[in-house]
């Protein structure tokens, strides 16, 4: 009985941590993966439908809300939605004003998108862990992991986006040659040590997106695992642990969104600076 419980618990955890994967299986062709082994076998050319769906949904929700607020934005007395939206915008403006020292009017919207998108995706975590897998199970989908930020692909994907922006703005501000020169001549300002400098700087550059992606993923994934473990407890014990953990996660959710945004802004600010 204990062994059975253990197996079912392991199965439960694995089930909840498996994404709904669509890809080309070596044997089954283009299909939804029905086991995590199949999903692994699909290799790189597969896509997590749940991650994509929920993240795009959240992004669209954010843009729709803010766009709606923007269309009726008045300079007079703002209404409820406009108030909330303006609060977020002011928060982001303060953030970029204090950490971003370059000249770029796009930094505000970039930071806003990052912050609100990550915040909304993280917030999905506060929904009960069983609802959506069960619901989609009834509809015939084997897996459904609704929190996109617990998927390393999503967080790294965004981090890569930030990384590309760092490269783009570095080249735009300093020129390709200037950027290359900066990579080759810092920290040791001599051509003799250029290869060493290059290695150092490129590693330093690559560490930025990786640390961004993994930090968010780690925090969210760990939190999700704890939620799932709590869900395995007897029903009368669940709320005693679930409620404090969820309340704590309100903090984690916003904090992680804030950290990701702030660090992105800091990296972009560094990309705008001449050394």
């Amino acid at each position: 009985m204990a062994a059975d419980n253990e197996i079912s618990a392991i199965y439960y955890i694995q089930h909840h941590l498996q994404n709904l994967t669509f890809g080309k299986h070596p044997e089954n062709g283009w299909s939804l993966a029905s086991t995590s082994a199949e999903a692994t076998e699909m290799g790189f050319w597969a896509i997590h439908l749940d991650t994509m769906g929920w993240s795009i949904g959240m992004g669209a929700l954010f843009l729709w809300l803010f766009h709606k607020a923007g269309k009726v934005a008045t300079t007079g007395v703002p209404g409820g939605l406009q108030n909330a939206v303006e609060m977020v915008i002011e928060f982001i403006e303060n953030l970029t004003r204090s950490t971003f020292h370059g000249k770029n009017k796009h930094i505000g919207p970039i930071a806003l998108t990052l912050f609100m998108w990550i915040l909304l995706m993280n917030s999905l975590k506060l929904l009960p862990v069983d609802y959506f897998p069960e619901m989609f199970g009834k509809l015939g989908f084997e897996y459904m992991k609704i929190v996109p930020t617990t998927d390393i692909n999503a967080t790294l994907g965004m981090a890569i986006g930030v990384f590309l922006m760092i490269i783009y703005y570095s080249c735009k501000v300093k020129g390709v040659a200037g950027f290359g020169k900066e990579l080759a001549l810092t920290p040791f300002n001599t051509w003799l040590l250029a290869p060493f400098n290059l290695i150092l700087e490129i590693v330093g550059l690559l560490v930025k997106p990786i640390s961004l992606g993994f930090r968010l993923f780690g925090a969210m994934f760990a939190g999700e695992v704890i939620f799932i473990l709590i869900a395995l407890l007897p029903f009368w014990a669940i709320w005693m642990l679930d409620v404090p953990w969820a309340i704590f996660h309100i903090l984690v959710i916003s904090l992680q969104a804030f950290i990701f945004t702030t660090l992105s802004v800091v990296y972009l600010s560094a990309a705008h600076e001449h050394h």
């Binding site: 994967t21 999903a39 790189f44 923007g70 934005a73 008045t74 300079t75 919207p109 970039i110 994907g157």
Partner: protein, 156 residues
């Protein structure tokens, strides 16, 4: 924990969201925000300016009031002085006039007395002459004399 196409999908989604945000979401809200900030700042400015103006106006009003009060009291004082002076003058004039009148009346009376005296003297002398004439004319006639004396007595 598979790294797959989702990575690229997320990057593309991110790029699209950022683009949309830059193009359609950020500008209207940000503009409204800054315009309102400007409006509020302007309003506060205007309010402080108005307060300052009000203070100035009050000060000016007070000053004007003070000046006019001073003027009024000055005018009043002058008027009082003037009236006292006028009364004094009038009194002086009246006394002088009175004195003059009394003097002239006295002089007239004197004159009148003198004239009366002169008249009386002339008449007395005339009477004396007439009386003497009558006395001389009627000395022979006792009776006539008698009448004459009676007449003389009546005339006196």
């Amino acid at each position: 924990m598979n790294i797959n196409m989702t990575l690229i999908g997320q990057t593309i989604a991110f790029a699209i969201f950022v683009w949309f945000c830059i193009k359609y979401v950020w500008p209207p809200i940000s503009n409204a925000l800054h315009e309102r900030q400007k409006k509020i700042a302007d309003g506060l400015d205007a309010a402080s300016r108005a307060t300052r103006d009000l203070e100035l106006a009050q000060e000016r009003a007070e000053q004007t009031l003070r000046e006019s009060k001073e003027q009024a009291s000055q005018i009043l004082e002058q008027a009082n002085k003037r009236s006292a002076q006028m009364i004094e003058e009038a009194r002086e004039q009246a006394r002088a006039e009175g004195e003059r009148l009394v003097a002239s009346a006295r002089a007239e009376i004197e004159q009148e007395i003198n004239r009366a005296k002169d008249d009386l003297r002339a008449q007395v002398s005339h009477l004396a002459i007439v009386g003497a004439e009558r006395v001389l004319e009627a000395s022979v006639d006792e009776k006539a004399h008698r009448d004459l004396l009676d007449k003389l007595a009546a005339e006196l």
